[in-house]
């Protein structure tokens, strides 16, 4: 049994979406959706706790790999993340990404929480701090308008430098 309690929330993003919990769940777990709003990345999640979680880059390479920690459609999806697609990042401890989906009036409140079980430097958190608002803004647009946003982002240089510094 995976112990979530060791992980402390570091980055939290809340967005309200004019949709249903089932559709938000699908947008998070179905690769035809994630390719649209998540920089072309395709999610692959085995639908059970303990299953494999992957995000595959548009070129077919696995970019992020982890374990499904909670699979409770359509309320909660949690998985660990290790960035295996970038050499300096492979050895970092995995982080925990949790999506909580709740009905809020006629809308859905989606809460993304990125948690860590080590004293992660602020500079490394900047990647998620910059990336989540863009990804989740695009997810909201896709569900409400049928069109994702145009988002092209490179990892923050301060994050890359901080990860390199850890290895030195």
């Amino acid at each position: 049994m995976f112990d979530e309690s060791k992980f402390k929330p570091k980055t939290v993003y809340v967005t309200y979406i004019a949709s249903t919990p089932e559709k938000v769940w699908q947008a998070l777990t179905d690769p035809t959706f994630t390719r649209e709003y998540f920089s072309g990345f395709a999610v692959e999640a085995e639908p059970t706790a303990g299953g494999t979680f992957r995000l595959r880059a548009p070129n077919g390479n696995v970019h992020i790999e982890g374990e499904v920690v909670d699979w409770s459609p359509p309320r909660r999806f949690a998985c660990t993340w290790t960035v295996v697609g970038m050499p300096d990042f492979r050895d970092l401890p995995p982080c925990l990404v949790t999506y909580d989906i709740e009905q809020a009036g006629e809308s859905v409140r989606l809460t993304m929480t990125e948690s860590h079980d080590w004293d992660i430097p602020k500079a490394i958190l900047s990647g998620g701090e910059a990336g989540w608002p863009a990804i989740l803004s695009s997810l909201k647009s896709l569900l409400e308008t049928g069109k994702p946003l145009k988002i092209a982002m490179a990892p923050p240089t301060e994050m890359l430098a901080a990860v390199k510094a850890l290895k030195a």
Binding site: V14, S107, K140
Partner: protein, 158 residues
């Protein structure tokens, strides 16, 4: 203990001019800001005003910076009785063009260390800014449930 600071970023498929208009004109704000009429199109020294759907004045705060359609800063001191003790906090809106979209960054800071208002705005801004994005992209704001405190307040006013 460090002073509380709230930061929220959202990307909106609309140009900065449209986002600016929505943030500063009452006729637009009432369509997404859960019925609140918010006026903030004045110059520095003029006031941002906000009225609840029942017509109660919620804000009368000085505008500290105004550079349309890039940057807007105003004080934030709710005119509610139970909030009297807190000094004004500060809200900054930064609008950056991003392709033909807008990256909107809202920073709300300058709170007292034990601020009660901080807890309320931390729940409120994601709902308001989600609704703003929906309104500008689809023509419809959200009917999202406001946070509990505000709902109770609205009920008490009605």
């Amino acid at each position: 203990m460090s002073k509380p600071k709230f930061v929220y970023v959202t990307y909106i498929a609309a140009p900065p001019e449209k986002v600016w208009e929505a943030l500063t004109k009452a006729d637009i704000s009432e369509k997404y800001w859960f019925g609140y009429r918010v006026t903030a199109d004045g110059k520095v020294g003029d006031h941002m005003t906000a009225y609840s759907p029942t017509g109660m004045q919620a804000h009368d705060d000085p505008i500290l910076e105004s550079d349309p359609p890039r940057r807007l800063v105003y004080d934030w001191k709710p005119l509610y009785k139970d909030m009297d003790g807190e000094r004004p906090s500060r809200v900054s809106f930064e609008l950056e063009p991003f392709k033909d979209q807008t990256k909107l960054t809202v920073v709300h800071d300058e709170f007292d260390e034990d601020s009660k208002i901080f807890g309320l705005i931390s729940k409120g801004w994601p709902a308001v800014l989600s609704s703003l994005k929906s309104f500008l992209e689809t023509g419809r704001g959200l009917q999202a449930s406001w946070d509990d405190e505000a709902q109770k307040r609205a009920a008490a006013e009605a």
